[in-house]
Amino acid sequence: MKVLLRNPRRELEVDGPIRVIALLDRLDLNRESVLVIREDTLVPGDALLEDHDQIEIRPVISGGFR
């Protein structure tokens, strides 16, 4: 599957099927810091991602003083 990552924007190929939590562990990403999106909507941690899926892993941390 194609996995889009941000900050910086880049794409990875990952073999499916794989659960969301396992994918985040494999990429060494903290679950509190990202959301996983498939076809414009969110997928929860136990969702199974298939080989043909297009996935975005979106960081949610923003910084600076506001």
């Binding site: 941000r6 924007r9 509190e32 909507t41 929860p44 136990d46 979106r58 949610v60 941390i61």
Partner: protein, 315 residues
């Protein structure tokens, strides 16, 4: 995973609440949490006019959306910071949101109005860009809220922001800052009431809210914020949160409930002794003759413009 409320398939897990939610019930949770924060801290009364500071990012657009949904009369305020294409695309998201909902967006461009932008201000002041940005935005926010006759200025600070700021203030025992870290700062001479209605929502929740509501926002990080302390504090707190969900909420709300009053009482005595007078240049309250913003703007406007850093390229 099933929704805690209706048992339909869940779209998100919120480990802090030890619960999963479907789309409708997650959106309801977000609205309820904002409503609860507004009531809990007496942020707003029905019918009051609110100016929402919007950056084009997830938090401020989610805040504006929820406040509209809760029935508050709101306008948006966007400050053009002059941080290259990052600022341009952020402004586009804010404008698109306002247009879609037929709401007024007040725009103030720092360079057009005050003769400098953030990259140039940071260079001239020899300070971190986030610090210069904070001084600049606070000044513009205060001015716009007072000039527009709004009852309150709302900002998109969320639970993660407040926990990270608290963490930094505790690390350095910044007692003066601790005393002022409140969800509401009442209006006083020269300052509007300032409110933070998102303090009961984490930033993972505000981002999820935008995605589920179809709100497009600036996802990329500000190119000038990379590596700042605030981001480091958030990462540290998220590492704790991962093994102990709810820690950030306990840290921040525990402070408000059990410790904040001690710092407010302490600092109140010394703060009362400092007389504020109108800035000789802009009229904003200041302990000196000229306020920090006007000193910054005056120096920055005389400095040759600096280009903003470009965004990180894709690899």
């Amino acid at each position: 995973m099933k929704c805690r409320v209706c048992k339909a398939p869940a779209v998100i897990d919120v480990r802090r609440h030890n619960a999963n939610f479907c789309q409708p019930h997650f959106l309801k949770l977000c609205r309820d949490q904002v409503g609860k924060a507004i009531d809990q801290f007496a942020m707003l009364s029905p019918g009051e006019r609110v100016l929402v500071a919007v950056s084009g990012g997830k938090d401020s657009l989610a805040l504006w959306d929820v406040l509209l949904d809760l029935g508050y009369e709101t306008d948006g305020l966007y400050v053009g910071l002059g941080i290259g294409d990052y600022s341009e695309s952020s402004a586009d998201y804010a404008r698109a949101f306002a247009e879609d909902r037929d709401r007024r967006l007040v725009e103030v461009d720092l360079r057009e109005t005050h003769g400098y932008d953030i990259p140039t201000g940071a260079k001239s002041a020899r300070r971190a860009p986030c610090s210069v940005c904070g001084i600049s935005k606070r000044h513009v926010f205060d001015r716009a809220a007072l000039d527009g006759g709004y009852d309150a200025l709302a900002t998109g600070h969320n639970l993660d922001d407040e926990a990270a700021v608290l963490f930094g203030n505790v690390l350095r025992w910044e007692t003066e800052y601790l005393a002022r870290q409140q969800p509401v700062l009442p209006a006083r001479d020269g300052f509007p009431r300032k409110i933070k209605p998102l303090i009961r929502l984490g930033e993972r929740e505000t981002a999820a809210y935008c995605i589920l509501r179809g709100i497009d926002y600036e996802v990329e990080e500000c190119p000038m914020a990379a590596g700042n302390k605030h981001l480091g504090y958030k990462e540290a707190l998220n590492a704790v949160e991962t093994t102990s969900p709810g820690s950030k909420q306990q840290f921040y709300f525990g402070y408000l409930e059990r410790a904040a009053a001690l710092f407010t009482a302490c600092e109140g005595e010394s703060a009362d002794g400092i007389a504020l007078a109108p800035c000789a240049n802009c009229g904003a309250p200041t302990p000196g003759e000229v306020c920090a913003f006007c000193r910054l703007a005056e120096r920055a406007a005389r400095t040759q413009a600096v280009a903003a850093p470009v965004r990180k390229a894709a690899s």
